[in-house]
Structures are given as structure tokens and as C-alpha cells.
Subunit: 189 residues, 2 copies
């Protein structure tokens, strides 16, 4: 899955990432740190029971508003054992997807920027959760996952410790493994 | 969007949640706490650059392995400004979807269990992120979101503070706002 397109002596593409463009982005961010400020957004509408849908479209980044060719929409639901209709993955499963996607992309991008070739990446994630926490049946049981385990299989010449360090630069790894202020406002009518 | 089906004097369905079944689940969990242990899973395969795909299917819960009628698959990608092909929402956007979905479902379920009728829910989430953290350009900038703001619009007779408290029982709210151990194993070959 890796292409290395050579221009003169330097590859412009590594791990299918345009490293020449990535390098330009890094220089631009060093010159103008304010370009680093991004804001991502999601809207969600409840359908019924455990079923709801999110729409993800525009965002702010690199100094301007951006739109997508079309919005992305995702349904979330619960499986029957959790009283849903199973019309979508459930919210905590989407966390595993976000974590998987982010650690993979982060490792691939940072490897590309360092000239480390990666031929393939596959991974598995498991999250343990005791639903008694969510149900409010046990105060000593947390509501979210108690632990998440990640296993990455990477085809690369680079040492595993190096690859793990790159994968851990992932924003979602940071969001999940560290705490983050979430401000909640409710408007009831 | 709310149905209230009455059987004798008690509704069996509230906010489209089968509260009779929910009540049975709560009783079962009190009798057999071990049934609360769930494990959710995701597999992911890198495609190229910022594009990868997750598959979500079976899980363990309520004492047994469960499968889905069909697996759920999701692509994640980056927008062009972040050097991707925009073939999917990006990983940090999926975090906002997971958070939106989870806070909505949690509020709706807990309201149902308490006899609080909810007619509609819509919400917006914004996450601020300075990509210089991810890029490794500034040690004092975190890699994930610095803050997430949630705004919920709820049609209900219940007081907003009550609804906010129910929404905050969300597992993904817990995962995002608190820290969580993530164990990472890399197998390179």
C-alpha cells in the first residue's frame, strides 16, 4: 500500500502521504502558529429509543471555514440486549473506531514525515465496560470503559517501540487516555 | 417521537424505550452483577494515507457472545487541508458523534426509567483542537481537543438541570471527560 514517488533525490510521497505538502504545512504552522487552531463540529438528532443520527460537515481550520462535498451522516443505536434496534454501532463502539482510525493515521503520517516506510497496518481494539455503572446500579463502577486494549500489526522495518511512540501522538489517544473539559448546556422547552 | 403504550396503569414504553424490559434488565443485574460485564471491539485496516476502515461486529455482554445481523463498517479519512482525500469523517469528528449519540441515548433511557417524557432532542458539539500539538510543533499544546462544548435542545417538561444530570451519566461523556488506561501493544514484522 506504500508508494514512494521520487523527485530528484527526495520522495514526495511516502505511505501514500504527500510529504512535500506535509512539510509545507509544518513550515506554515511554524511561521503562523494561529493557523493551527481547528474547530470540528457534529450535529445530532434523536430518532427513537437508542437510535439517533449525527451529521458532520463544515469545520474551521487553517484560518478559514471549510465545507465538505457532502455531509457525513452516522446512525448510532444499541443492540437488542441493551434495548435498541441495532441499526448502528453503539456510541462506545464508535469511540473504538475513532481511536483505531486516529492511531493508524497518526502513525502513518508521522512515519512518512520521518522517512519510515509502512507497508500495512491492521489493528484490534477491545474495551471493557460494566454496564452497571451506566445503569446507576453501582457507585464504585465507572460509567465508561474501565480499560481499552489496542493491538497494532505493522509491516515496517522500524522498531515496534518507535512505531508505538508515533501512534501515541494520536489526538484521540490523548482525548481518551487523558481528561478533557466538556462543557454541557441544556435548553429545555 | 414519544410513544407511551399503557398496560394496566403503567406505561411499558416511554420515549420509545421498552421500560418494562429495561426494568427486568435492572433487576437481573442486581441479582447477578456479573451480567454487567461487556466487551466491545473494533478492527481497523489502513487503506492509504489518512484513509482507513473499521469493522464492528460481535461483542460480549450479559454473559455471552453476541453477533450482529451484519457488521458495521466505517471509513475515516482527513480533509484535504489535513492531507487526506475526505472519504470519511476524521477521527476527532467521530469522537463528537460518539459523544452526541451517547449523551442523547443516556438521557432518553434514564428519563424513560424515571417516567420523564421527552418529545425531541437535538444537539450540537464543537471541539477545539490546535493541530500544532498533533504535528509535534509545540510541547505545550495538547494533541487532542483542548475543550468540547455540548448544547442540547430538549423538548420535555423536566427541568434542564435534571436533564443535564441524566445526560452526564453517559459512558462516552465519562470516557472523554475523565482519563482512561489505554494499553498499546505493537507487533511489527
Amino acid at each position: 500500500m506504500t508508494e514512494a514517488v521520487m523527485t530528484k533525490d527526495r520522495p514526495t510521497t511516502m505511505n501514500s502521504v504527500d510529504v512535500a505538502a506535509l512539510s509545507e504545512t509544518l513550515s506554515a504552522l511554524q511561521r503562523q502558529p494561529a493557523l493551527g487552531a481547528f474547530q470540528f463540529r457534529a450535529k445530532n438528532v434523536w430518532a427513537s429509543g437508542g437510535l439517533n443520527r449525527s451529521t458532520i460537515d463544515g469545520f474551521f481550520g487553517a484560518g478559514k471555514e471549510e465545507t465538505r462535498p457532502r455531509p457525513f451522516t452516522f446512525a448510532a443505536d444499541e443492540p437488542p440486549v441493551l434495548h435498541g434496534g441495532d441499526q448502528g454501532a453503539n456510541p462506545v463502539e464508535f469511540v473504538l473506531h475513532a481511536l483505531a482510525a486516529c492511531m493508524t493515521t497518526t502513525m502513518v503520517y508521522h512515519a512518512a514525515a520521518r522517512g519510515i516506510e509502512i507497508s500495512s497496518v491492521s489493528s484490534e481494539r477491545e474495551g471493557d465496560i460494566d454496564v452497571r455503572g451506566f445503569m446507576g446500579l453501582a457507585d464504585d463502577v465507572r460509567k465508561g470503559y474501565s480499560q481499552v486494549r489496542v493491538k497494532l500489526h505493522v509491516e515496517s522495518e522500524a522498531p515496534p517501540a518507535k512505531l508505538a511512540a508515533l501512534a501515541k501522538m494520536s489526538p484521540v489517544y490523548d482525548i481518551v487516555s487523558n481528561s478533557l473539559p466538556v462543557e454541557v448546556a441544556i435548553e429545555a422547552h
